[in-house]
């Protein structure tokens, strides 16, 4: 049964971990649950089962076992892991948490810009690491 309460809504940044009405057989259609900056967010009850998400944005959401992501109206759900990188752009991550493709890559490519993950600056060294490097170079 399609949930009127949870369908066609914007839950971006909101946790539903305490919801007690996400019951087996519930269908949630066309809602956004994206969690910025927090890949693999546990925003649903850990014991939730039997819920079907149809054409939802579940980026950065952990889906407990026993629930289904389904296509509807010709549109699948999205369940990518996304995180801002040192170039201040949002990147899609692989299973190891490494950036593989910039979000909205097609817009960049349409403007003739091919952004590669190797172009992302490496993380800044901490002060302690810099001292260690300097000491090693100076034979200390």
């Amino acid at each position: 049964m399609i949930s009127q309460k949870y369908s066609s809504r914007d839950f971006m940044g909101i946790s539903l971990a305490e919801a007690d009405d996400l019951l087996p057989g519930t269908i949630i259609r066309g809602s956004c649950f994206y969690q910025e900056g927090r890949p693999d967010s546990h925003i649903f009850p850990e014991d939730m089962t039997g819920v079907t998400f149809e054409r939802c944005n579940l980026d950065n959401c952990y889906i407990p076992p026993g629930n289904t992501l389904a296509e509807q109206a010709g549109i699948p759900c999205t369940n990518k892991q996304v995180l801002v990188q040192n170039d201040l752009r949002d990147w899609i991550l692989d299973d190891k948490g490494e950036p593989v493709e910039v979000i909205s890559a097609k817009a960049w490519k349409a403007n003739g810009i091919d952004i590669h993950c190797n172009d992302i600056l490496k993380p800044l060294q901490s002060i302690e690491q810099l001292y260690q490097i300097a000491e090693a170079l100076n034979g200390v």
Binding site: D10, M12, C32, A73, L88, I103, S104, K106, A107
Partner: protein, 415 residues
Amino acid sequence: MAFNAATQWEFQTTGDNTNGGGFFNATPGTSVDLALANTPVTFTDLVIDATTNTKITSALRPFTMADAGNIINITSGTGFTVQRVQIVSVDGSNVATCDKAVGTVASIDGNGKMGGALAVPTDALFDLVVRDNTVHIKYGTYTLTDTIYPTSSGIFANPIRCIGYKTTRLDMPVGNDRPTIACGAYSFYGNNGWVLDSLIFAGTAEDMFAPQGYLIVRNIKATNSSSTANRYAIKLAAASCKLFCCEGISTNGYGIGGTAEQIGIIQCYCHDSAWGLYHTGSYSNIVNCISESNTTGALYLGAAASSYVIGNTLFGSDGKTGTGILMSSGGYASIMLGNIITGFTTGINRSSGSVSALLLLIDQSNFYNNTTDVSNVVKGSNCIALDPAFADAANGDFTPGDNMKLDIDWTKMGL
């Protein structure tokens, strides 16, 4: 043949992206818009004529003249081309003639859906739209699962329109009665020659709502809640875009702005951002806008030149916050008149360059409750310093008080 220029496309939250989704009034008084009614007709027995591949029939659900103008989404069938076709006419023998070849002559058992609304915007659907088409989006929340970057474009004389509505098409909703596009991490780009009207956008993307050039954008509210700095709620990246009556909020970034030249930001409202307005493109007009309660400043112009900043209300805070207008070495040949600049550490600041080397006119404005009114620019002799006495600044009502209103004796003006 492309879809008819007068085609109206329909999005509803209860729609389906496998529906036909569009209609033009082929026979006024007879044709029925099945997309608006969201009453799709499913075919499983379409037959292509034995000699003319644009003609189709169905025995289970014969075509009628009321079907003329509706779009069929052909989904499968041996000899059928998977595509959307538009019924141009239906004759007295229930034969529908379509705008393009449906497939191979004499093919049978084709599947398709005629009419019915669409569910959510995608590139593939927006790429079907042609010049002079209108896309109607009914009230509700539409969740993007990818960035929208359509290839279809209009021109100024023949735009593509994308318009939100509450109950009846073209009812011009305001406030929260507008449809919402829930963007998540994705962006909504228009393309050149699109008109975008009466919609709400919410998300976190770098350029969350980015209309392109030669475009008119009206009655749009965009909120970017990203924790990453310097992201736009509404970004103008292509020339000649005009914004009317839009609202932009970007918690850690820019409400409205961009880099494009020859843009207009008119009667817009930016607030609770780092910079309310952040636009560095030259030859631009920023007119009758309100930019208030931003943490860093109201209007950043960078090195923009040859621009008009007219009749705006720029408010920092009662305790003086940030900068009203910040320019770098630019501002050459720009005019700033009739602005209320109040509640800033610095009203107008030009951070570098010679103060006398510009054709920069700053005059007939009200500077009030700023620690410093101007820095490295010349304030004109017709500026005043009166409390604007806003009606209720804390709640976004910047109606100026009586002391800011013109006192005109109309009897002396022959009226």
